[in-house]
Protein backbone atom coordinates (compact mmCIF):
# COMPACT_ATOMS: atom_id res chain seq x y z
CA UNK A 1 0.00 0.00 0.00
CA UNK A 2 1.54 3.26 -1.09
CA UNK A 3 -1.55 5.41 -0.91
CA UNK A 4 -1.17 6.76 2.59
CA UNK A 5 -0.54 10.24 1.24
CA UNK A 6 -4.23 10.31 0.39
CA UNK A 7 -4.88 10.28 4.13
CA UNK A 8 -2.84 13.44 4.57
CA UNK A 9 -4.52 14.89 1.48
CA UNK A 10 -7.94 14.10 2.94
CA UNK A 11 -7.13 15.88 6.19
CA UNK A 12 -5.68 18.92 4.44
CA UNK A 13 -8.80 19.27 2.32
CA UNK A 14 -11.07 19.00 5.37
CA UNK A 15 -9.10 21.83 6.89
CA UNK A 16 -9.27 23.89 3.70
CA UNK A 17 -13.04 23.65 3.61
CA UNK A 18 -13.36 24.20 7.33
CA UNK A 19 -11.16 27.26 7.72
CA UNK A 20 -13.73 29.57 6.22
CA UNK A 21 -11.61 32.70 6.38
CA UNK A 22 -8.69 30.98 4.65
CA UNK A 23 -11.00 29.60 2.02
CA UNK A 24 -12.66 32.90 1.23
CA UNK A 25 -9.55 35.04 1.36
CA UNK A 26 -7.75 32.66 -0.96
CA UNK A 27 -10.59 32.96 -3.43
CA UNK A 28 -11.11 36.68 -3.01
CA UNK A 29 -7.50 37.75 -3.38
CA UNK A 30 -7.18 36.96 -7.11
CA UNK A 31 -10.61 38.40 -7.77
CA UNK A 32 -9.49 41.65 -6.17
CA UNK A 33 -6.38 41.76 -8.34
CA UNK A 34 -8.44 41.26 -11.43
CA UNK A 35 -11.19 43.66 -10.50
CA UNK A 36 -9.07 46.56 -9.27
CA UNK A 37 -5.50 46.33 -10.53
CA UNK A 38 -6.58 44.73 -13.79
CA UNK A 39 -9.23 47.24 -14.69
CA UNK A 40 -7.19 50.23 -13.52
CA UNK A 41 -4.10 49.16 -15.45
CA UNK A 42 -5.88 48.11 -18.58
CA UNK A 43 -7.68 51.41 -18.93
CA UNK A 44 -4.26 53.11 -18.91
CA UNK A 45 -2.16 50.65 -20.87
CA UNK A 46 -4.71 49.98 -23.57
CA UNK A 47 -4.74 53.71 -24.28
CA UNK A 48 -0.95 53.76 -24.88
CA UNK A 49 -0.90 50.45 -26.69
CA UNK A 50 -3.56 51.53 -29.13
CA UNK A 51 -1.06 53.93 -30.67
CA UNK A 52 1.31 51.09 -31.56
CA UNK A 53 0.51 49.48 -34.90
CA UNK A 54 -0.44 45.82 -34.77
CA UNK A 55 1.19 43.64 -37.48
CA UNK A 56 -1.27 42.37 -40.01
CA UNK A 57 -3.00 39.09 -39.21
CA UNK A 58 -1.91 39.04 -35.54
CA UNK A 59 -4.50 38.92 -32.77
CA UNK A 60 -4.54 41.99 -30.58
CA UNK A 61 -4.91 41.06 -26.89
CA UNK A 62 -6.15 43.67 -24.45
CA UNK A 63 -4.30 44.22 -21.19
CA UNK A 64 -6.89 42.63 -18.90
CA UNK A 65 -6.73 39.42 -20.89
CA UNK A 66 -2.93 39.59 -21.02
CA UNK A 67 -2.69 40.09 -17.30
CA UNK A 68 -5.29 37.45 -16.38
CA UNK A 69 -2.71 34.78 -17.22
CA UNK A 70 -0.28 36.57 -14.92
CA UNK A 71 -2.81 36.75 -12.10
CA UNK A 72 -3.48 33.01 -12.34
CA UNK A 73 0.27 32.41 -12.17
CA UNK A 74 0.80 34.85 -9.33
CA UNK A 75 -2.03 33.41 -7.26
CA UNK A 76 -0.62 29.95 -7.75
CA UNK A 77 2.81 31.19 -6.69
CA UNK A 78 1.53 32.77 -3.48
CA UNK A 79 -0.78 29.90 -2.57
CA UNK A 80 1.98 27.38 -3.17
CA UNK A 81 4.63 29.32 -1.29
CA UNK A 82 2.37 29.50 1.74
CA UNK A 83 1.02 26.00 1.20
CA UNK A 84 3.71 24.29 3.24
CA UNK A 85 3.11 26.52 6.19
CA UNK A 86 0.49 24.16 7.61
CA UNK A 87 3.42 21.82 8.28
CA UNK A 88 5.08 24.44 10.41
CA UNK A 89 1.96 24.72 12.52
CA UNK A 90 1.59 20.95 12.65
CA UNK A 91 5.13 20.79 13.90
CA UNK A 92 4.78 23.57 16.45
CA UNK A 93 1.49 22.28 17.79
CA UNK A 94 2.82 18.74 18.10
CA UNK A 95 0.45 17.35 15.50
CA UNK A 96 3.27 16.19 13.30
CA UNK A 97 4.52 13.72 15.89
CA UNK A 98 1.48 11.57 15.25
CA UNK A 99 2.47 11.32 11.59
CA UNK A 100 6.21 10.96 12.16
CA UNK A 101 5.71 8.20 14.71
CA UNK A 102 3.37 6.28 12.42
CA UNK A 103 4.61 3.67 9.94
CA UNK A 104 3.58 5.90 7.02
CA UNK A 105 6.64 6.79 4.93
CA UNK A 106 7.59 10.37 5.60
CA UNK A 107 7.60 11.36 1.97
CA UNK A 108 3.86 10.81 2.05
CA UNK A 109 3.42 13.71 4.42
CA UNK A 110 4.89 16.14 1.92
CA UNK A 111 3.14 14.45 -1.00
CA UNK A 112 -0.23 14.73 0.72
CA UNK A 113 0.32 18.35 1.62
CA UNK A 114 1.63 19.19 -1.85
CA UNK A 115 -1.20 17.49 -3.69
CA UNK A 116 -3.75 19.28 -1.55
CA UNK A 117 -1.97 22.58 -2.27
CA UNK A 118 -2.11 21.75 -5.95
CA UNK A 119 -5.82 21.09 -5.70
CA UNK A 120 -6.33 24.44 -4.00
CA UNK A 121 -4.42 26.15 -6.81
CA UNK A 122 -6.61 24.42 -9.38
CA UNK A 123 -9.74 25.61 -7.63
CA UNK A 124 -8.40 29.16 -7.54
CA UNK A 125 -7.33 29.10 -11.16
CA UNK A 126 -10.76 27.83 -12.18
CA UNK A 127 -12.43 30.62 -10.27
CA UNK A 128 -10.17 33.28 -11.77
CA UNK A 129 -10.95 32.03 -15.25
CA UNK A 130 -14.68 32.17 -14.66
CA UNK A 131 -14.50 35.51 -12.87
CA UNK A 132 -12.23 36.86 -15.60
CA UNK A 133 -14.74 35.92 -18.29
CA UNK A 134 -17.35 37.92 -16.37
CA UNK A 135 -15.03 40.94 -16.26
CA UNK A 136 -14.35 40.73 -19.97
CA UNK A 137 -11.20 38.63 -20.22
CA UNK A 138 -11.05 37.11 -23.69
CA UNK A 139 -9.25 33.83 -23.22
CA UNK A 140 -9.30 31.24 -26.00
CA UNK A 141 -9.98 33.76 -28.83
CA UNK A 142 -11.76 32.03 -31.65
CA UNK A 143 -10.91 28.55 -30.36
CA UNK A 144 -13.13 25.58 -31.12
CA UNK A 145 -14.72 23.73 -28.21
CA UNK A 146 -12.29 20.78 -28.32
CA UNK A 147 -9.36 23.18 -28.52
CA UNK A 148 -10.68 25.07 -25.49
CA UNK A 149 -10.95 21.79 -23.56
CA UNK A 150 -7.40 20.84 -24.53
CA UNK A 151 -6.15 24.32 -23.65
CA UNK A 152 -7.72 24.19 -20.20
CA UNK A 153 -6.01 20.86 -19.62
CA UNK A 154 -2.74 22.36 -20.81
CA UNK A 155 -3.06 25.28 -18.40
CA UNK A 156 -3.72 22.91 -15.51
CA UNK A 157 -0.81 20.66 -16.36
CA UNK A 158 1.50 23.68 -16.22
CA UNK A 159 -0.11 24.87 -12.99
CA UNK A 160 0.31 21.41 -11.49
CA UNK A 161 4.03 21.17 -12.18
CA UNK A 162 4.67 24.71 -11.03
CA UNK A 163 2.66 24.50 -7.82
CA UNK A 164 4.20 21.16 -6.87
CA UNK A 165 7.67 22.65 -7.11
CA UNK A 166 6.86 25.61 -4.91
CA UNK A 167 4.79 23.57 -2.45
CA UNK A 168 7.71 21.22 -1.97
CA UNK A 169 10.03 24.19 -1.51
CA UNK A 170 7.66 25.66 1.02
CA UNK A 171 7.29 22.33 2.85
CA UNK A 172 11.04 22.01 2.97
CA UNK A 173 11.48 25.47 4.49
CA UNK A 174 8.65 24.79 6.95
CA UNK A 175 10.40 21.70 8.22
CA UNK A 176 13.58 23.62 8.89
CA UNK A 177 12.06 26.66 10.57
CA UNK A 178 10.38 27.15 13.87
CA UNK A 179 8.69 30.51 13.71
CA UNK A 180 5.77 31.39 11.47
CA UNK A 181 7.04 34.98 11.41
CA UNK A 182 10.36 33.82 9.98
CA UNK A 183 8.49 31.81 7.40
CA UNK A 184 6.40 34.84 6.50
CA UNK A 185 9.57 36.90 6.01
CA UNK A 186 11.23 34.34 3.77
CA UNK A 187 8.10 33.93 1.70
CA UNK A 188 7.80 37.67 1.12
CA UNK A 189 11.47 37.85 0.18
CA UNK A 190 11.01 35.03 -2.30
CA UNK A 191 7.67 35.97 -3.75
CA UNK A 192 8.26 39.63 -4.60
CA UNK A 193 11.30 39.24 -6.87
CA UNK A 194 9.81 36.13 -8.44
CA UNK A 195 6.69 38.09 -9.18
CA UNK A 196 8.30 41.27 -10.48
CA UNK A 197 11.12 39.69 -12.45
CA UNK A 198 8.69 37.79 -14.60
CA UNK A 199 6.41 38.31 -17.55
CA UNK A 200 3.30 38.10 -15.40
CA UNK A 201 2.21 41.74 -15.60
CA UNK A 202 4.33 43.19 -18.41
CA UNK A 203 6.41 42.01 -21.35
CA UNK A 204 10.02 41.19 -20.55
CA UNK A 205 11.13 42.26 -24.02
CA UNK A 206 11.72 45.78 -22.71
CA UNK A 207 13.67 44.70 -19.57
CA UNK A 208 17.34 45.65 -19.28
CA UNK A 209 19.44 42.65 -20.42
CA UNK A 210 20.41 41.64 -16.89
CA UNK A 211 16.78 41.36 -15.73
CA UNK A 212 15.87 39.63 -18.97
CA UNK A 213 18.40 36.90 -18.25
CA UNK A 214 17.21 36.59 -14.67
CA UNK A 215 13.63 36.30 -15.76
CA UNK A 216 14.40 33.34 -17.99
CA UNK A 217 15.52 31.42 -14.90
CA UNK A 218 12.33 32.33 -13.11
CA UNK A 219 9.86 29.44 -12.97
CA UNK A 220 7.03 31.96 -12.88
CA UNK A 221 8.02 33.23 -16.35
CA UNK A 222 7.81 29.69 -17.69
CA UNK A 223 4.43 29.16 -16.10
CA UNK A 224 3.06 32.37 -17.59
CA UNK A 225 4.45 31.43 -20.99
CA UNK A 226 2.63 28.12 -20.76
CA UNK A 227 -0.65 29.66 -19.67
CA UNK A 228 -0.53 32.28 -22.45
CA UNK A 229 0.33 29.67 -25.05
CA UNK A 230 -2.76 27.68 -24.16
CA UNK A 231 -5.11 30.56 -23.35
CA UNK A 232 -4.12 33.08 -26.05
CA UNK A 233 -2.50 31.04 -28.78
CA UNK A 234 1.00 31.03 -30.22
CA UNK A 235 0.90 34.35 -32.03
CA UNK A 236 -0.58 37.50 -30.49
CA UNK A 237 0.16 41.14 -29.85
CA UNK A 238 -0.14 42.65 -26.39
CA UNK A 239 1.15 45.70 -24.50
CA UNK A 240 3.06 46.85 -27.52
CA UNK A 241 4.94 43.59 -27.95
CA UNK A 242 4.55 40.81 -30.49
CA UNK A 243 4.45 37.35 -28.90
CA UNK A 244 5.20 34.22 -30.84
CA UNK A 245 5.52 31.09 -28.78
CA UNK A 246 6.84 28.02 -30.56
CA UNK A 247 6.03 24.49 -29.53
CA UNK A 248 9.67 24.00 -28.64
CA UNK A 249 9.55 26.98 -26.30
CA UNK A 250 6.49 25.65 -24.54
CA UNK A 251 8.04 22.24 -24.15
CA UNK A 252 11.22 23.82 -22.80
CA UNK A 253 9.19 25.80 -20.29
CA UNK A 254 7.37 22.69 -19.20
CA UNK A 255 10.61 20.74 -18.92
CA UNK A 256 12.06 23.55 -16.83
CA UNK A 257 9.10 23.42 -14.41
CA UNK A 258 9.30 19.64 -14.22
CA UNK A 259 12.99 19.69 -13.44
CA UNK A 260 12.39 22.41 -10.86
CA UNK A 261 9.69 20.29 -9.19
CA UNK A 262 11.92 17.22 -9.25
CA UNK A 263 14.82 19.05 -7.63
CA UNK A 264 12.48 20.48 -5.01
CA UNK A 265 11.16 16.98 -4.36
CA UNK A 266 14.62 15.61 -3.74
CA UNK A 267 15.57 18.47 -1.44
CA UNK A 268 12.32 18.24 0.50
CA UNK A 269 12.66 14.48 0.87
CA UNK A 270 16.00 14.98 2.54
CA UNK A 271 14.50 17.45 4.98
CA UNK A 272 11.67 15.07 5.85
CA UNK A 273 13.82 12.03 6.30
CA UNK A 274 16.06 13.87 8.69
CA UNK A 275 13.29 15.61 10.57
CA UNK A 276 13.50 15.25 14.30
CA UNK A 277 10.42 16.51 16.03
CA UNK A 278 10.33 15.85 19.72
Amino acid sequence: MAWEFLTVYWREMIRFVRFRTQLFSSLLQPAIWMAFFGIAMSSNLDRFASSIPVPAGVIQVDYLTFMAAGVIAMTTLFTSLYGGMSLLFDKNWGLMREMLASPMPRTHIMLGVSLSGMTKSFIQAGIIMVFGLLLGVRFFPGFSAPRIALSVIGVFVFLGAFSLGFLLLSSNISMRLESPEGMQGIMTLLSLPLFFVSNALYPIQAFPPFLQVLSTYNPLTHLVTGIRYFALGNDFFAVGAHYTITTAEVLTSFAYLTVFAAVMYLLARRAFERAVVA
Binding site: M1, R11, G94, L95, M104, V276
Partner: protein
Protein backbone atom coordinates in the same frame (compact mmCIF):
# COMPACT_ATOMS: atom_id res chain seq x y z
CA UNK B 1 4.59 -15.48 26.98
CA UNK B 2 3.99 -13.84 30.34
CA UNK B 3 7.24 -12.44 31.61
CA UNK B 4 9.09 -12.06 28.29
CA UNK B 5 10.91 -8.76 27.85
CA UNK B 6 8.98 -6.54 25.48
CA UNK B 7 11.23 -3.50 25.92
CA UNK B 8 14.97 -3.86 26.36
CA UNK B 9 17.13 -0.81 26.88
CA UNK B 10 20.87 -1.19 27.36
CA UNK B 11 23.28 1.66 28.02
CA UNK B 12 21.12 4.38 26.50
CA UNK B 13 22.76 7.78 26.27
CA UNK B 14 21.52 10.92 24.58
CA UNK B 15 22.87 14.43 24.38
CA UNK B 16 21.47 17.65 23.00
CA UNK B 17 24.54 19.66 22.14
CA UNK B 18 26.32 20.04 25.46
CA UNK B 19 23.42 18.82 27.54
CA UNK B 20 23.50 15.19 28.60
CA UNK B 21 19.81 14.41 28.83
CA UNK B 22 20.19 10.65 29.29
CA UNK B 23 23.39 9.26 30.77
CA UNK B 24 23.48 5.50 30.50
CA UNK B 25 20.09 4.00 31.23
CA UNK B 26 19.35 0.27 31.16
CA UNK B 27 16.03 -1.38 31.96
CA UNK B 28 13.57 -3.97 30.73
CA UNK B 29 9.81 -4.00 30.61
CA UNK B 30 8.03 -7.31 30.73
CA UNK B 31 5.14 -8.21 28.53
CA UNK B 32 1.79 -7.40 30.13
CA UNK B 33 3.00 -5.13 32.88
CA UNK B 34 2.53 -1.47 33.64
CA UNK B 35 5.93 0.09 33.91
CA UNK B 36 6.48 3.65 35.05
CA UNK B 37 9.25 6.11 34.65
CA UNK B 38 8.94 8.42 37.62
CA UNK B 39 10.99 11.55 37.83
CA UNK B 40 10.97 15.30 37.93
CA UNK B 41 10.65 17.41 34.82
CA UNK B 42 13.90 17.50 32.93
CA UNK B 43 15.03 14.15 34.32
CA UNK B 44 15.25 12.54 30.88
CA UNK B 45 11.87 10.82 30.79
CA UNK B 46 10.62 12.42 27.60
CA UNK B 47 13.95 11.98 25.85
CA UNK B 48 13.89 8.29 26.66
CA UNK B 49 10.31 7.84 25.54
CA UNK B 50 10.99 9.74 22.32
CA UNK B 51 13.85 7.39 21.52
CA UNK B 52 11.69 4.37 22.30
CA UNK B 53 8.94 5.57 19.98
CA UNK B 54 11.51 6.37 17.22
CA UNK B 55 10.99 10.13 17.18
CA UNK B 56 14.55 10.79 18.29
CA UNK B 57 17.46 9.00 16.65
CA UNK B 58 19.38 6.52 18.78
CA UNK B 59 22.78 7.99 19.63
CA UNK B 60 24.28 5.41 21.97
CA UNK B 61 23.10 2.17 23.45
CA UNK B 62 20.72 -0.52 22.30
CA UNK B 63 16.94 -0.34 22.35
CA UNK B 64 14.57 -3.09 21.31
CA UNK B 65 10.81 -2.71 21.37
CA UNK B 66 8.65 -5.79 20.75
CA UNK B 67 11.63 -7.59 19.28
CA UNK B 68 12.62 -4.82 16.86
CA UNK B 69 15.69 -2.64 17.05
CA UNK B 70 14.64 1.04 17.03
CA UNK B 71 17.68 2.08 15.01
CA UNK B 72 17.50 -0.62 12.38
CA UNK B 73 13.78 -1.26 12.08
CA UNK B 74 12.01 1.94 13.13
CA UNK B 75 9.06 1.19 10.91
CA UNK B 76 8.47 -2.20 12.48
CA UNK B 77 8.55 -0.57 15.89
CA UNK B 78 6.10 2.12 14.76
CA UNK B 79 3.70 -0.56 13.57
CA UNK B 80 3.39 -2.23 16.97
CA UNK B 81 3.28 0.68 19.38
CA UNK B 82 0.63 3.16 20.38
CA UNK B 83 1.38 6.57 21.78
CA UNK B 84 -0.50 9.05 23.93
CA UNK B 85 1.48 12.25 23.85
CA UNK B 86 1.95 14.53 26.78
CA UNK B 87 0.55 17.65 25.19
CA UNK B 88 -2.85 18.11 23.82
CA UNK B 89 -2.05 16.99 20.31
CA UNK B 90 -5.38 16.92 18.60
CA UNK B 91 -6.29 18.71 15.41
CA UNK B 92 -8.74 21.29 16.70
CA UNK B 93 -10.75 21.42 13.55
CA UNK B 94 -11.27 17.73 13.03
CA UNK B 95 -14.19 15.97 14.64
CA UNK B 96 -13.76 13.16 17.16
CA UNK B 97 -14.54 10.60 14.49
CA UNK B 98 -12.26 12.20 11.91
CA UNK B 99 -9.41 12.22 14.43
CA UNK B 100 -9.78 8.47 14.81
CA UNK B 101 -10.32 7.89 11.11
CA UNK B 102 -7.19 9.85 10.22
CA UNK B 103 -5.12 7.84 12.67
CA UNK B 104 -6.50 4.52 11.46
CA UNK B 105 -5.75 5.45 7.86
CA UNK B 106 -2.21 6.53 8.77
CA UNK B 107 -1.63 3.00 10.01
CA UNK B 108 -3.31 1.46 7.00
CA UNK B 109 -6.04 -0.41 8.90
CA UNK B 110 -8.54 -1.69 6.31
CA UNK B 111 -11.71 0.36 6.13
CA UNK B 112 -14.32 -2.01 7.60
CA UNK B 113 -12.05 -3.12 10.40
CA UNK B 114 -11.08 0.49 11.09
CA UNK B 115 -14.64 1.74 11.29
CA UNK B 116 -15.65 -1.12 13.57
CA UNK B 117 -12.77 -0.47 15.95
CA UNK B 118 -13.48 3.26 16.00
CA UNK B 119 -17.10 2.62 16.92
CA UNK B 120 -16.08 0.21 19.68
CA UNK B 121 -13.40 2.46 21.14
CA UNK B 122 -15.57 5.57 21.15
CA UNK B 123 -18.05 3.61 23.24
CA UNK B 124 -15.30 2.48 25.62
CA UNK B 125 -14.06 6.02 26.26
CA UNK B 126 -17.62 7.35 26.35
CA UNK B 127 -17.25 9.72 23.45
CA UNK B 128 -19.70 8.00 21.18
CA UNK B 129 -22.28 10.73 21.56
CA UNK B 130 -19.72 13.34 20.56
CA UNK B 131 -18.33 11.72 17.48
CA UNK B 132 -19.24 14.66 15.26
CA UNK B 133 -17.99 17.30 17.66
CA UNK B 134 -14.82 19.18 16.73
CA UNK B 135 -12.09 18.40 19.20
CA UNK B 136 -11.67 22.05 20.17
CA UNK B 137 -15.06 21.82 21.88
CA UNK B 138 -14.09 18.91 24.13
CA UNK B 139 -13.10 19.23 27.78
CA UNK B 140 -9.56 18.39 28.90
CA UNK B 141 -10.61 14.96 30.16
CA UNK B 142 -12.47 14.14 26.96
CA UNK B 143 -9.49 15.15 24.87
CA UNK B 144 -7.24 12.86 26.87
CA UNK B 145 -9.75 10.03 26.55
CA UNK B 146 -9.86 10.59 22.82
CA UNK B 147 -6.08 10.44 22.69
CA UNK B 148 -6.11 7.18 24.62
CA UNK B 149 -8.73 5.76 22.27
CA UNK B 150 -6.57 6.89 19.36
CA UNK B 151 -3.51 5.26 20.87
CA UNK B 152 -5.44 1.97 21.13
CA UNK B 153 -6.90 2.02 17.65
CA UNK B 154 -3.99 0.13 16.17
CA UNK B 155 -4.15 -2.59 18.88
CA UNK B 156 -0.58 -1.88 19.92
CA UNK B 157 1.55 -4.38 21.78
CA UNK B 158 2.94 -1.55 23.87
CA UNK B 159 1.13 1.65 24.68
CA UNK B 160 3.33 4.59 25.59
CA UNK B 161 1.74 7.23 27.77
CA UNK B 162 3.71 10.39 28.35
CA UNK B 163 2.33 12.11 31.46
CA UNK B 164 -1.19 10.82 30.80
CA UNK B 165 -2.94 12.87 33.45
CA UNK B 166 -0.90 16.07 33.34
CA UNK B 167 -3.09 19.03 34.19
CA UNK B 168 -6.28 17.05 34.77
CA UNK B 169 -8.53 17.37 37.81
CA UNK B 170 -8.49 14.53 40.38
CA UNK B 171 -11.74 12.90 39.28
CA UNK B 172 -10.74 12.85 35.66
CA UNK B 173 -7.36 11.45 36.62
CA UNK B 174 -8.99 8.54 38.42
CA UNK B 175 -11.09 7.76 35.37
CA UNK B 176 -8.05 7.87 33.12
CA UNK B 177 -6.32 5.48 35.52
CA UNK B 178 -9.30 3.15 35.22
CA UNK B 179 -8.97 3.18 31.45
CA UNK B 180 -5.29 2.49 31.65
CA UNK B 181 -5.91 -0.50 33.91
CA UNK B 182 -8.63 -1.81 31.61
CA UNK B 183 -6.35 -1.55 28.63
CA UNK B 184 -3.61 -3.31 30.50
CA UNK B 185 -5.94 -6.09 31.61
CA UNK B 186 -6.89 -6.60 27.98
CA UNK B 187 -3.25 -7.52 27.36
CA UNK B 188 -1.44 -4.34 26.36
CA UNK B 189 1.88 -3.58 27.97
CA UNK B 190 1.94 -0.04 29.32
CA UNK B 191 4.96 2.21 29.53
CA UNK B 192 4.18 5.46 31.23
CA UNK B 193 6.11 8.45 32.39
CA UNK B 194 4.88 10.63 35.16
CA UNK B 195 6.07 13.06 37.73
CA UNK B 196 3.09 12.29 39.95
CA UNK B 197 4.23 9.92 42.70
CA UNK B 198 0.71 8.85 43.40
CA UNK B 199 0.12 7.94 39.80
CA UNK B 200 3.19 5.74 39.63
CA UNK B 201 2.28 4.14 42.93
CA UNK B 202 -1.36 3.45 42.06
CA UNK B 203 -0.87 2.13 38.57
CA UNK B 204 2.48 0.48 38.20
CA UNK B 205 3.66 -3.06 38.50
CA UNK B 206 7.18 -1.73 38.45
CA UNK B 207 8.73 1.70 38.69
CA UNK B 208 12.09 3.15 37.77
CA UNK B 209 12.92 6.42 39.42
CA UNK B 210 14.88 8.59 37.04
CA UNK B 211 16.76 11.75 37.87
CA UNK B 212 19.45 13.72 36.04
CA UNK B 213 19.40 11.25 33.18
CA UNK B 214 20.06 8.18 35.33
CA UNK B 215 17.92 5.48 36.86
CA UNK B 216 18.27 5.90 40.58
CA UNK B 217 16.36 2.83 41.70
CA UNK B 218 13.88 0.30 40.28
CA UNK B 219 11.37 -2.06 41.80
CA UNK B 220 7.73 -2.69 42.58
CA UNK B 221 6.04 0.14 44.46
CA UNK B 222 6.02 -1.99 47.63
CA UNK B 223 9.65 -2.98 47.27
CA UNK B 224 10.65 0.62 46.87
CA UNK B 225 8.68 1.70 49.88
CA UNK B 226 9.77 -1.24 52.00
CA UNK B 227 13.45 -0.83 51.29
CA UNK B 228 13.23 2.46 53.09
CA UNK B 229 12.40 0.43 56.23
CA UNK B 230 10.97 3.51 57.75
CA UNK B 231 7.42 2.70 58.73
CA UNK B 232 6.38 5.05 61.46
CA UNK B 233 3.85 4.31 64.22
CA UNK B 234 2.22 7.26 65.92
CA UNK B 235 1.17 6.38 69.45
CA UNK B 236 -0.69 8.29 72.10
CA UNK B 237 -0.57 6.70 75.53
CA UNK B 238 -1.54 7.66 79.06
CA UNK B 239 2.14 7.91 79.96
CA UNK B 240 4.21 8.87 76.94
CA UNK B 241 7.53 9.20 78.81
CA UNK B 242 7.37 5.73 80.31
CA UNK B 243 6.21 4.28 76.99
CA UNK B 244 9.14 5.93 75.24
CA UNK B 245 11.73 4.44 77.57
CA UNK B 246 10.12 1.04 77.34
CA UNK B 247 9.83 1.04 73.57
CA UNK B 248 13.50 1.82 73.09
CA UNK B 249 14.21 -1.69 74.34
CA UNK B 250 11.75 -3.44 71.99
CA UNK B 251 13.23 -5.26 68.96
CA UNK B 252 12.79 -3.64 65.50
CA UNK B 253 12.23 -0.20 67.04
CA UNK B 254 14.78 2.10 65.59
CA UNK B 255 13.99 5.32 67.35
CA UNK B 256 11.30 6.97 69.42
CA UNK B 257 10.66 10.67 69.43
CA UNK B 258 8.27 12.59 71.65
CA UNK B 259 6.10 15.29 70.28
CA UNK B 260 3.31 17.29 71.91
CA UNK B 261 0.78 14.95 70.37
CA UNK B 262 2.42 11.68 71.34
CA UNK B 263 5.22 9.42 70.19
CA UNK B 264 6.51 8.65 66.75
CA UNK B 265 8.14 5.27 66.62
CA UNK B 266 10.33 4.44 63.63
CA UNK B 267 10.30 0.75 62.85
CA UNK B 268 12.89 -1.08 60.79
CA UNK B 269 10.57 -3.84 59.57
CA UNK B 270 7.12 -3.86 58.03
CA UNK B 271 5.00 -1.75 60.39
CA UNK B 272 1.85 -3.76 59.82
CA UNK B 273 3.50 -6.81 61.35
CA UNK B 274 5.31 -4.99 64.14
CA UNK B 275 2.32 -2.99 65.35
CA UNK B 276 0.30 -5.76 67.11
CA UNK B 277 3.45 -6.86 68.89
CA UNK B 278 4.18 -3.32 70.10
CA UNK B 279 0.63 -2.91 71.34
CA UNK B 280 0.80 -6.26 73.18
CA UNK B 281 4.10 -5.36 74.83
CA UNK B 282 2.86 -1.97 76.00
CA UNK B 283 -0.33 -3.49 77.40
CA UNK B 284 1.83 -6.17 79.04
CA UNK B 285 3.59 -3.54 81.15
CA UNK B 286 0.34 -1.78 81.89
CA UNK B 287 0.53 1.24 79.63
CA UNK B 288 -2.87 2.16 78.17
CA UNK B 289 -2.92 3.23 74.53
CA UNK B 290 -5.21 6.07 73.54
CA UNK B 291 -4.70 6.07 69.77
CA UNK B 292 -2.55 4.35 67.13
CA UNK B 293 -1.71 5.43 63.62
CA UNK B 294 0.57 3.63 61.20
CA UNK B 295 2.19 5.60 58.42
CA UNK B 296 3.73 3.74 55.49
CA UNK B 297 6.31 5.63 53.46
CA UNK B 298 4.88 7.19 50.31
CA UNK B 299 6.51 7.37 46.92
CA UNK B 300 7.33 10.93 47.90
CA UNK B 301 9.43 9.62 50.76
CA UNK B 302 11.06 7.14 48.43
CA UNK B 303 11.86 9.84 45.95
CA UNK B 304 13.28 12.15 48.57
CA UNK B 305 15.29 9.29 49.99
CA UNK B 306 16.89 8.35 46.70
CA UNK B 307 17.39 11.76 45.17
CA UNK B 308 17.84 13.82 48.29
CA UNK B 309 15.19 16.32 47.30
CA UNK B 310 11.56 16.82 46.50
CA UNK B 311 10.23 16.64 42.98
CA UNK B 312 11.07 19.88 41.28
CA UNK B 313 8.28 22.02 40.01
CA UNK B 314 7.86 23.53 36.60
CA UNK B 315 7.96 21.87 33.25
CA UNK B 316 11.13 20.51 31.74
Amino acid sequence: MEGADIIEVVGLEHTFGEVEAVRGISFTVKEGEIFSFLGPNGAGKSTTINILITLLPLQRGRVRVAGHDVAREPRRVREVIGIVFQDEVLDRDLTVWETMEFHGRLYGIPRDERRRRIDDLLVVVELDARRNERTKNLSGGMKRRLQIARGLLTRPEVLFLDEPTLGLDPQTRMRIWDYIRQVNQAGTTIFLTTHYMEEADMLSDRISIIDHGRIVVSGTPDELKNTLGEDVVYLETEDDERAREFLLGVEDVRSVTRSPRGLSVAISVDGGHALPRIIDRLRGVGIEIVSVNLKKPTMDDVFVHYTGRELRDGRG
